[in-house]
């Protein structure tokens, strides 16, 4: 392959009036990658994605998509890319089939090519039996599938998805990600933005966005590996009473309550573990379990944010 | 525990806050319609004058020149063209005024045949011809009226040496009541004022519930311990207040600036205005419940206003309309309100005259509000 880079983002910024939504981001996304842009609301995910889609011009820096400049050659980019905006960007009063045919017309997929493509898409998304339904009457998950089908109707080498699973239930979410994995398996370069950390784990590489800047860009496991310390899972009969006491222990960074389970994030597994055991002992609690638990992406993200903000206690920050 | 009145006021206060925050809607409604009032006032008080007149004077006598001068001397007609023959005159009527060729459009052509002066002075009855441009019917009608009267006066003057005062008592005597100078604006302005009053308050009321529905706050409101009548009254109260303030300012504008007289009892008008408002508010809230979105609510208001306009006597007196229309009109609040408003302002009408309309307003208002409350409760279950 002559050029391995699909998207080349060079110190791109975008401001709206006084506020900086994207603050000189540099990223490079390879061909065939499933790339996640992860961050909270307002981190600049949509702005970045819209600039990649060439529908918003950067106020600084350049973006090249497959070698095309996003400002000068905007229209060239639009035909090689599939884009799914946040929310439902399709016509609710048109049927599934009409939406697909309309999009096909727009992207110049016609005649025999379209007739061959449609059954493939129906099969892929499981929408065949709904093809005469009005899009507005579909469930949230099916709407997303339809939007995806429209975005890939012209078999674009690049797919940009802006929060495709927001507001979708877990069954549909899982189904949607299976579709994405399928596309990934076929070699489509996919950039997906999401506020959900569990979805981030399904990407090849992830850029964590915060306040318009990239906090980290790496594979999910590498990002999690950046967090010093470990997670301990404690179940006991009296978690509610224990939680504040545990927080008072030195070396405990944070506690998450999951029903009768406490996830304790600690700086150093062994020393803090013994401190916890001492505490349990002194509180005379004996029907407990204390196990190692995997670090979650969410914890890693929060660690990195706090690290960037300098809000961490010194012992952790160092 | 707080009283119903208190809770109603709580909701009304919140509605007022919404209105204060909306920087587009209220200013647009108020400024837009005040602007329209001024436009209408200006347009309807504009006299129809300086209409283009062409003359074909085949007589060229002293008498024909005097006749033309008399017509030209009127405010209504202005001599623009003197043409040699009738065909040219008719051609001129085909013309259309444009910025490049103003006054091209002839409204009236006077044809004075040869021998006009001689016939007139010798005691005969000469003919003249008037050709009117029917494409401008309003102007043409006015031009004809003025032309006929002026020609008659000129004829009397030349033939009998009589000025209009000399034969006035031989013509039917005319007294015009209430609007002595037949000022169009005296009729249209109160109508326009009622319309503004009506549209603004209806639009605001129609938004009251559809907005909550769109925002998703409607359900929250229903979960709170409010009673349905508290919600409806609370919602109606602030548009009413805005409407009332607007009414007062429009009333002041009409009487003080545009010179429409206020001959009757102001307190009566102020009280009946509240009754009228209640009826319209009920309608507005009802529309609001029917609409799914704010946009739909606004469109529904427009449609309703259009329908009501037919029956309201806004532009034309209801009494002169077909019987069926008159019957239907009795069920429309604005029709009664217009009778009352104009009656009090122009005719100095009092309770003794207006009571049937006031009773009708109260009855219609009560029916609408009861129906609205019933609908709200039915919606809720």
């Amino acid at each position: 392959m002559a050029n391995d880079t699909m998207i080349d983002i060079q110190s791109v910024s975008r401001s709206f009036r006084q506020t900086l939504a994207v603050d000189s981001i540099t990223l490079s996304i390879r061909r065939g990658e499933l790339f996640g842009i992860v961050g909270p609301d307002g981190a600049g995910k949509s702005t970045l994605l819209r600039m990649m889609a060439a529908i918003l011009n950067p106020t600084g820096g350049t973006i090249a998509i497959a070698g095309h400049d996003s400002v000068k050659d905007a229209e060239d980019i639009k035909s090689i890319m599939g884009y799914m905006p946040q929310g439902f960007g399709l016509y609710t009063d048109l049927s599934v089939q009409e939406n697909l045919r309309f999009t096909a017309d727009v992207y110049g997929v016609t005649g025999a090519q379209l007739e061959k493509r449609l059954p493939v898409l129906y099969e892929f998304t499981d929408l065949a039996s709904f093809k005469d339904y009005q899009a507005g009457k579909l469930s949230g998950g099916m709407k997303k599938k339809l939007a995806l089908a429209c975005a890939i109707i012209h078999e674009p080498p690049l797919l940009l998805l802006d929060e495709p699973t927001t507001g979708v239930d877990p069954v549909a979410r899982r189904g949607f990600w299976d579709l994405l994995s399928g596309l990934h398996a076929q070699g489509t370069t996919t950039v997906v933005s999401t506020p959900y950390m569990d979805e981030a784990e399904r990407c090849n590489r992830v850029a964590l966005l915060y306040n318009g800047r990239v906090l980290a860009c790496d594979s999910p496991s590498a990002i999690k590996a950046r967090v010093p310390g470990a997670v301990l899972a404690l179940t006991s009969s009296d978690n509610r009473r224990l939680a504040p006491l545990l927080l008072g222990l030195s070396g405990v960074i944070d506690i998450q309550t999951y029903g009768n389970l406490l996830n304790i994030i600690v700086t150093d597994r062994d020393t803090v573990r013994s401190r916890i055991l001492d505490l349990l002992d002194s509180e005379q609690i004996d029907d407990y379990t204390l196990e190692d638990a995997p670090m979650r992406m969410e914890e890693a993200f929060i660690y990195l944010v706090n690290h960037a903000e300098g809000a961490l206690p010194e012992e952790v920050a160092s | 525990m707080k009283s119903t009145i208190n809770r109603t006021l709580d909701i009304a206060w919140k509605e007022l806050l919404h209105m204060r925050k909306d920087r587009v809607l209220l200013p647009f409604l108020v400024i837009g319609f005040l602007l329209e009032l001024t436009f209408v006032a200006w347009a309807t008080s504009q006299p129809i004058d300086n209409l283009n007149m062409a003359v074909v004077d085949l007589d060229q006598s002293e008498q024909s020149a005097a006749l033309v001068a008399a017509l030209d001397a009127t405010d209504t007609l202005t001599l623009r063209h003197e043409v040699a023959d009738e065909a040219t005159a008719i051609e001129a009527m085909d013309q259309v005024n444009t910025v490049l060729t103003p006054h091209a459009n002839t409204i009236l052509t006077l044809v004075i045949p040869a021998g006009f002066g001689d016939t007139l002075t010798s005691g005969g009855q000469p003919d003249v011809r008037i050709i009117l441009n029917g494409a401008e019917s309003v102007s043409a009608r006015e031009a004809r009226r003025v032309a006929e009267q002026t020609i008659l006066e000129q004829g009397m003057r030349v033939r009998f040496n009589m000025e209009p005062a000399d034969y006035e008592d031989q013509l039917p005597q005319v007294t015009v009541k209430y609007n002595e100078d037949l000022e169009r604006s005296w009729y249209t302005l109160p109508g326009e004022a009622a319309l503004i009053f009506y549209m603004v308050t209806m639009a605001l009321a129609a938004l009251a519930i559809s907005r909550e529905r769109e925002w998703g706050t409607y359900e929250q409101l229903r979960v709170m311990p409010f009673r349905s009548v508290e919600v409806i009254l609370g919602k109606a109260l602030s548009p009413m207040l805005v409407g009332y303030v607007l009414f007062l300012s429009v009333l002041a504008l009409m009487t003080l600036v545009f010179g429409v007289p206020l001959r009757g009892s102001l307190p009566l008008l102020l009280i009946v205005a509240v009754l009228y408002l209640l009826a319209e508010m009920g309608k507005g809230v009802l529309l609001s419940m029917m609409a799914r979105t704010q946009l739909q609510a606004v469109l529904l208001v427009f449609v309703l206003v259009m329908v009501d306009l037919i029956f309201s006597g806004y532009a034309v007196a209801v009494e002169t309309l077909p019987q069926l229309v008159q019957t239907i009109a009795n069920f429309i609040p604005i029709r009664h309100w217009l009778v009352i408003l104009r009656g009090v302002m122009l005719k100095n009408a009092g309770l003794d005259v207006l009571w049937p309309h006031i009773v009708a307003l109260i009855a219609i208002g009560a029916v609408i509000i009861i129906f609205t409350a019933w609908q709200y409760r039915r919606n809720a279950s």
Binding site: P170, V171, R202 | E219
Partner: protein, 310 residues
């Protein structure tokens, strides 16, 4: 005492049964999660419990009162945060709170004090005069919670409270809920985010109007999915995926599902060690492997699958 007790509650809309004879109990002072996909009957149930909808059949009591007879007195003890953000976006934070407080009949003095307290609890200090529409998702959510707890309700219904809120804010929000639960307020939450559901002490899964599982999150996972997920990190995930699928189809590997998971391939198996050795024997490239317990989401999807295949 039970905060809520539901017995064979049913609601039909025409021929469609939205809620189909469900029963469950919510003990006082718990964080109770009511889960299900969109359109499964969650919101309908909450609406019945709030008295906004009459049940077609069955009974329920809320705070000891029968819902079909309860009136405004019950409403004054309930807090409700609806699915859509339901505050007046053109009003400021304090204006919103004042309206809600008055609606619930708080006197002016109490109201002033409560607003201050609630703002303290939810951390909205300094935002008092911000128009609500300018608040970001997480802050708006906090304000909605503030409004729902202003009148010190004993039971709060939260209908998908964190939809569209980012993880940092969601986490903080759950912190607030636990703080509230510590003051013996019962919290009834619906959600379809499974990572969030894991925070609850007790759960009920509703699917197409039926309750398909109940219990603590852990217990539900364990009873539903005893098997493990084997995650395989590999140099070429796509190729590995196809290779493992072939093994599965050939009957060499006994596995439930094989899917691509970013840079990893995930396989559901009974015995991780056995599977690893089978894969190794067949020359699958395994840079690193780890076995994990299925998540609540996995359990939920499995449960739904079972219902669907029935």
């Amino acid at each position: 005492m039970l905060a809520t007790s539901v017995n064979h509650l049913t609601r039909r809309f025409g021929s469609f049964t939205a809620v189909n004879g469900i029963s469950f109990e919510v003990p006082e002072g718990q964080v109770f999660g009511f889960l299900g996909p969109n359109g499964s009957g969650k919101t309908t149930t909450i609406r019945m419990l709030l008295g906004l909808l009459q049940p077609s059949d069955g009974t329920a009591t809320v705070l000891g009162q029968d819902i079909s007879r309860a009136g405004n007195e019950l409403r004054e003890q309930l807090g409700y945060m609806s699915q859509k953000f339901s505050l007046y976006r053109d009003l400021t934070v304090v204006e919103n709170l004042r309206f809600f407080g008055k609606g619930y009949g708080l006197s002016n003095a109490t109201l002033r004090q409560r607003i201050e307290e609630v703002i303290g609890i939810t951390g909205l200090q300094g935002q008092e005069n911000t128009p609500t529409k300018n608040l970001s998702g997480g802050w708006a959510q906090r304000l909605a919670l503030s409004a729902a707890i202003l009148h010190k309700p004993q039971l709060i219904f939260l209908d998908e409270p964190t939809a569209g809120v980012d993880p940092i804010q969601r986490r903080a929000f759950w912190g607030l809920l636990y703080d509230l639960a510590r003051t013996d307020v019962t919290i009834f939450v619906t959600t379809h985010y499974m990572d969030e559901a894991e925070h609850c002490e007790n759960l009920a899964f509703i699917y197409f109007g039926d309750i398909i599982a109940r219990g603590a999150p852990h217990d539900i996972v364990e009873s539903t999915l005893p098997e493990h997920v084997l995650a395989i990190e590999t140099r070429d995930p796509v190729q590995t995926l196809h290779a493992i699928r072939n093994l599965k189809q050939g009957g060499v590997l006994d596995a439930d599902g094989v899917s691509l998971f970013g840079a990893e391939v995930h396989v559901n198996i009974q015995d991780p060690d056995l599977a690893k050795s089978v894969l190794a024997q067949n020359g699958i490239d395994m840079q690193r492997t780890y076995a994990a317990r299925p998540s609540l989401e996995d359990a939920f999807i499995a449960l739904v699958d079972r219902v669907d295949t029935k």
